[in-house]
């Protein structure tokens, strides 16, 4: 991985290591939300929620745009998928092992019957 890609990965994992930020991601992946509407969902200050949104933005997980006085945030589906894709890679390791167990336990691989 290049230095830039490493830094991007650090930012991505840091961003998703927080429960509130994951919850914000679930909402903004469903559609564009204004930051003030998001802030109303949590038992914390507007500034605190804005900070969470900024962390997610730096990690490339969401994008913000201005509309009048509002800041609108929406999720980047591709960026989130890359976390799910890591579990999918592990799933492939498992599918390989399970296929080998299936092969090993076939009666004709052990003895004639």
């Amino acid at each position: 991985m290049s230095e830039e890609a490493e830094e991007r990965a650090d930012a991505l994992f840091h961003a998703l290591a927080d429960r509130t930020r994951r919850d914000i991601m679930r909402r903004v992946l469903g559609g564009e939300h204004s930051v003030s509407v998001l802030a109303a969902k949590y038992d914390m200050s507007f500034a605190a929620v804005q900070k969470h949104v900024a962390v997610l933005e730096r990690a490339g997980l969401l994008t913000k745009r201005r509309s009048g006085r509002e800041q609108l945030a929406s999720g980047d589906v591709q960026a989130v998928r890359s976390v799910a894709s890591m579990l999918t890679e592990l799933e492939q390791v498992w599918r390989g092992r399970i296929a080998r167990i299936d092969e090993l336990i076939k009666p004709n691989s052990e003895q004639e019957d």
């Binding site: 990965a9 994992f13 429960r19 579990l87 592990l90 498992w94 599918r95 296929a99 167990i101 336990i105």
Partner: protein, 161 residues
């Protein structure tokens, strides 16, 4: 294919895989209880596994290394945390040096395997949990990706034949 269900829990970094095998629970347990059988299934064809220590008791260890195409060796260990023969097995799986000392700073996954009688065969449930997204990334960086690729090829081979 025996895999019947796969669940990814992104919040808890947990992968749960369910598979149905056409053999009794005792037969599936044997795959784990016999080091010669375990090494046949653990590593992909391009990284065959060799099991060295094999003590399937709580507090016991299973150690193994996998040998890559260039002769490169990658060691790992299981630290067994619970055994209920032939129904379940829990262990921590980590990376080790070639003397099987756990490598500090590398991630450890928690694993629970459960085998239950189902429709005349066995339903196996494999649950693996990682400490953090960084840990998951490290596990993939450590080379299981190559294993994954050849496992995919192997599955394609099975499906295509």
């Amino acid at each position: 294919m025996p895999v019947t269900d796969v669940t990814q829990d992104l919040d808890n970094l947990t992968l749960t895989i369910t598979a149905d095998f056409l053999a009794p629970v005792e037969r599936i347990w044997q795959v784990y209880a016999d080091p010669r059988q375990l090494e046949k299934v653990w590593g992909p064809p391009s990284y065959p596994a060799t099991v060295v220590d094999h003590n399937l008791t709580p507090g016991g260890r299973v150690t193994y290394f996998m040998t890559g195409p260039e002769g490169d060796k990658h060691a790992g260990y299981w630290h067994i945390t619970a055994v209920d023969e032939p129904n379940s097995l829990s262990f921590d799986d980590g990376f080790a040096d070639l003397d099987f000392n756990p490598t500090p700073g590398l991630p450890v996954s928690r694993n629970v395997y459960t085998f239950t009688a189902h429709d005349g065969g066995t339903r196996a449930t494999y649950v693996s949990t990682y400490e953090s997204a960084e840990a998951l990334q490290q596990v993939l960086d450590m080379g299981v990706v190559e294993g994954a690729t050849s496992a995919i090829n192997q599955i394609d081979g099975l499906v295509g034949s």
